[in-house]
Symmetry: C2
Subunit: 353 residues, 2 copies
Amino acid sequence: MKTYRYEENPIVKPVDVKPYHPGFEVIGAFNAGVARNGDEVLLLLRVAERPFSGDPDIVKVPIVRPESGRLEVMDLRRDDPRYDFSDPRVVRDVTSGVGFAYLTSLSYIRIARSKDGRNFSVDDAPFLYPSDASESFGIEDPRVTQIGDVYYVYYSAVSPTGIGVTLVSTRDFRQVERHGMIFCPDNKDVVIFPERIGGKYYALHRPTMKSTGSPEIWVAESDNLLYWGNHRHLIGLRPGMWDGGRIGGGAVPIRTSEGWLELYHGATREHRYCMGAVLLDLEDPSKVLARSDVPVLEPEMQYEREGFFGDVVFSCGALADGDTVRMYYGVADSSMACAELSLREILAGLVRV
Amino acid sequence: MKTYRYEENPIVKPVDVKPYHPGFEVIGAFNAGVARNGDEVLLLLRVAERPFSGDPDIVKVPIVRPESGRLEVMDLRRDDPRYDFSDPRVVRDVTSGVGFAYLTSLSYIRIARSKDGRNFSVDDAPFLYPSDASESFGIEDPRVTQIGDVYYVYYSAVSPTGIGVTLVSTRDFRQVERHGMIFCPDNKDVVIFPERIGGKYYALHRPTMKSTGSPEIWVAESDNLLYWGNHRHLIGLRPGMWDGGRIGGGAVPIRTSEGWLELYHGATREHRYCMGAVLLDLEDPSKVLARSDVPVLEPEMQYEREGFFGDVVFSCGALADGDTVRMYYGVADSSMACAELSLREILAGLVRV
């Protein structure tokens, strides 16, 4: 596979983003949804900001209060035996048995714009900011599906009640219409197909289970994009392979003559995140035709291997133009990079199932 | 609260149900959905059957093979260090980190019929039986919502890929139309309201999260009963109270002059299951008006306290007639019982929120 990573990579870094909150630092500008709008390429960045802590004994956690919409910062003592601070991304409450109790940063969505798809400038203000109780810990990892002249933007909404996926729509990336949570917790990594198939809309989604089952990719259908059903398990983990630990949808599916090409992420049980591909039937996307035995992109460059959470390449959007797939991807939960891949080569590398 | 438990309780017991599978014993006939059909009361029983094991060193686990539709029984050695057999209901794989690996019994749905609502006879054959890969570990805990002359029956579909909720419909409890999985894993305890409200259908559901959040009650809406969205968190756990460990929808909501009355189950962290109530706004069921501080029914009788999994009362359906609420409920994951409660007293006992 010939992979052309941009020499400019990372194309957006935390230092390129002015903090929105006084007293905060930007620690991540990553996992961006991608859209073409007029003559611009837009990256809908997940920007993560963390409160400065002057005191090494204090961990500060940000929460947007649903009542006031105001950002508050809580101080947790590092020696408090109720908490486990070993994961830099989250604070676990060891007494509760639930996954995490707080996040160490607040994420929201901010737009970076470019004429050439390589040189970006970042808007000063957020495009989407936590707006209700279901988003009080932040909003993360947006994807954008354009249908006609409407852009559907959907993202992980994180709060103490769980992580679900919420949908908004816009025509101009200024005015936004809210459509509520479309996939209830525990869910992430939704990608909505860019057209109706047999009269229905389709989406891939990634539930995470506690009772039984693994973080794998499911397919659902809809007649209005707001309400979803007919959930079916699509593809599973492959123990020992690059996607043996967890998988989830990545870029919005690309229509090709051979089928719908989905660039998805897979991680090992040791949390090494790669990008691979699965090919779905054009008429029935619940039918799997072929899949990558080896990744189409894996963390190799220093900026992919080192960062806030290293050894991660994680795409939320790609632009296809002829044989060129320009895959934008988050690196190490820190920055954005881009690589150009050959559509023909990706398809040729898939193994029929 | 005056509670009239039937003298006949339990009204259906495992011994009343002939095993459907040769070489199996019926260990449960419980957690039944309830419907009125003509002059009959129907209980849609969850029947659990377990393969006999002659060998105390062997635990047998049943699986319906999705390819053939045939029931197979696997033998697991009790001394196999990969497995944890401490919970009588499930087998855990200690190496995998997922919740459970197998169930020790296979559940399916069977109808019990009665003219008086107290004396039931059980059909010989299943009404609903696992039908695809998403149901290979069984189908459980049905609820029935009647809308016009169509009965919507929905139940937990259990398989290695997770536990979701699947919908079918029938007019006569013979012919069944399948509508797929309406709530993806991890979800249970769905109750669909019996009429449109402001033009939309509503349901309560109970996602279970791994990342963060607790097993609590959510509300969703739909325009066709098949596709669901606008998920919102409705009510949460109350630590230290009867519903401090987990909660979930129980009976199909009952329309009263004061609001929608939902009889829901709550358990402590020690797994003691009681029934309580929450009152929701008639025009907007996402609005909580009042809630039980104490249960409306708790496990007190011997048949509620002792059984396959003791200290459990768990209703999946009730019939309201004037002031009388005839609440059918599973006891100790073993049998069915019924109690008559006063609607007026339930409402009077609620605490405004």
